[in-house]
Symmetry: C2
Subunit: 356 residues, 2 copies
Amino acid sequence: MPYVRCVGESWPLTLDRANFEYQALSVQFSLCPKLIPKVHYFSRSDALMIMDYIAPPNIILRKGLIAGIKYPTLSQDLGEFCARTLFGTSALKLSASEMRKECKFWVTNTEMCALTETVVFREPYIDAPNNRWTSPQLDNDKKMIEEDVQLKVAASKLNKKFITQSQALLHADLHTGSVMCSPADGQTFVIDPEFAFYGPMGFDIGAIIANLFLNYVSQRGHNNSPGYDEWILEQVVILWNTFEATFCQLWNDPVEHTGDAYHRSLFTDESSLIACQEAFMREIFVDALGFCGMKMLRRIVGIAHVEDLESIEDPDMRATCERHGLEVAKELIKNASKYENINDAVTMVASKTVNK
Amino acid sequence: MPYVRCVGESWPLTLDRANFEYQALSVQFSLCPKLIPKVHYFSRSDALMIMDYIAPPNIILRKGLIAGIKYPTLSQDLGEFCARTLFGTSALKLSASEMRKECKFWVTNTEMCALTETVVFREPYIDAPNNRWTSPQLDNDKKMIEEDVQLKVAASKLNKKFITQSQALLHADLHTGSVMCSPADGQTFVIDPEFAFYGPMGFDIGAIIANLFLNYVSQRGHNNSPGYDEWILEQVVILWNTFEATFCQLWNDPVEHTGDAYHRSLFTDESSLIACQEAFMREIFVDALGFCGMKMLRRIVGIAHVEDLESIEDPDMRATCERHGLEVAKELIKNASKYENINDAVTMVASKTVNK
């Protein structure tokens, strides 16, 4: 559609995003074939793509998580998707010159980046007509966001990173609506990378964790089996740990680590390789938590909400869940660097539970 | 010349660097006309440029500093050059979409970036045939660099920033050989931006400070008037302070701060603007010190040295000065974030004096 789907024809959007989606699917398929549907045909002029049919029982992950389904391989698969696609398009794999050549193409996906910059990084923090929230319950929470200078400075710092850091080819819209999976055969597919561009790695990891956290805070509004909320938090830990382990495994392999970043000629022994990886992963981790907070906040007070929370019919219950989400979001945006590891972050999320 | 001048025909180099130089001079002239020679004619096919003649008594700054000349407006001018060109090409001035359009062009200056990546970021830290140093005096110092894992990790982190951070259009070769000036009429001209590309702001500021520090450590090998070394350090302080003040002044002006970074709609009062600027300048400052260290180190043990040190005939004296430079360089690369402000950094440089 030549417009933003959730808004309608009043917000036109380039059809050429189909080309970016096609190009990104091709790159991602080359790096991670088991998690990406194969594209069989693409016509740029028609914005038409023919790809593998992702057959039932595969459904959109968000719907599965709302229904309380447990997916045995999901979090490993998503961690691996992030690791393989981010490593394989970064300056760890590519020479700086090869990477600049890639950037030259992806930097033209400006319209989609501008959309993210508007709806994720700017509007939720100001009084903008597109925003909506559970009202009147969250009126004061929204006002506090607009008045929180520390929050807005931290959010702007992350926005600057989004604009200026070209670390890897991101999916750039990696929420649970961009994943299809089936619990029975342990399949996972990542789809819809029309926002793809070269950006900070933490943005993809933060996005998918944000959507798991959003589902977590919504659980008290749903009637899922006891312990499902804890299962969600466990998936966050597994996802990050898989990402980190797979990323470092690729880095350890001289056939994979062929790029200019942390050039192999500088680091000959294992202990110095580990020192590099620790410095690198720490930065990605802190970025991921910060972006995670921003992706959560915008889904509660911005233009586009998530079904996990929207499907809670009682507005008081919904607002309670959403307030929990906002507290987590603000903490992560402002204080990401205080968290030593993913377990600390998950513990914070569980502890922030807001009383009704 | 279709090769690297200091190496010769064995290291070919694109003639198209003249086009990047021409384009960069045009952008810089539009932002800072008094400090940039005007270009009157450019032929890309001939790699031929006709620009304003920078007449005597203007000379190359490096030669002036070796001769002990004091320039009354130099450090203000260079601080202003950095502030105006970096602010004016950043996402503070431009929308993210406008900036991505610029990046699309500048990201193609790959060959010049690759040259920097090789001779600044990689070779000095390994055993590479291009390296040279005052031998045997500094043999052990060179070996210690190659064995210093903490140093190499920090250097690689800065290299990653150089490859991935597109903050502003850099001059990217801002040493004292790229500046011409005259003490009499207080003129300053910045020339030779053939390495220009979108990179981290701290790289330009770090480069010029590095070359002032290199001159400072060379002073005990020259017979300049007493106190000239202190005058050099004062210039570093003035340069940074002018940069910071001018940059923030531009940012305070709603006619200048029209970009998406730290979007104006988020920050309505003066105190929040100051909070943004403090967060931003802190990052640039730490980056600048780190890059400063790398630019110093490569001029002492890498392929291309500086006349400030090379012109010291006694090799023992030269090595003593160079060792002082290396100590400063390593400290800045490893511990940039420990320095609160430019005065602290300058105090460290003065205190590192190595006994002969």
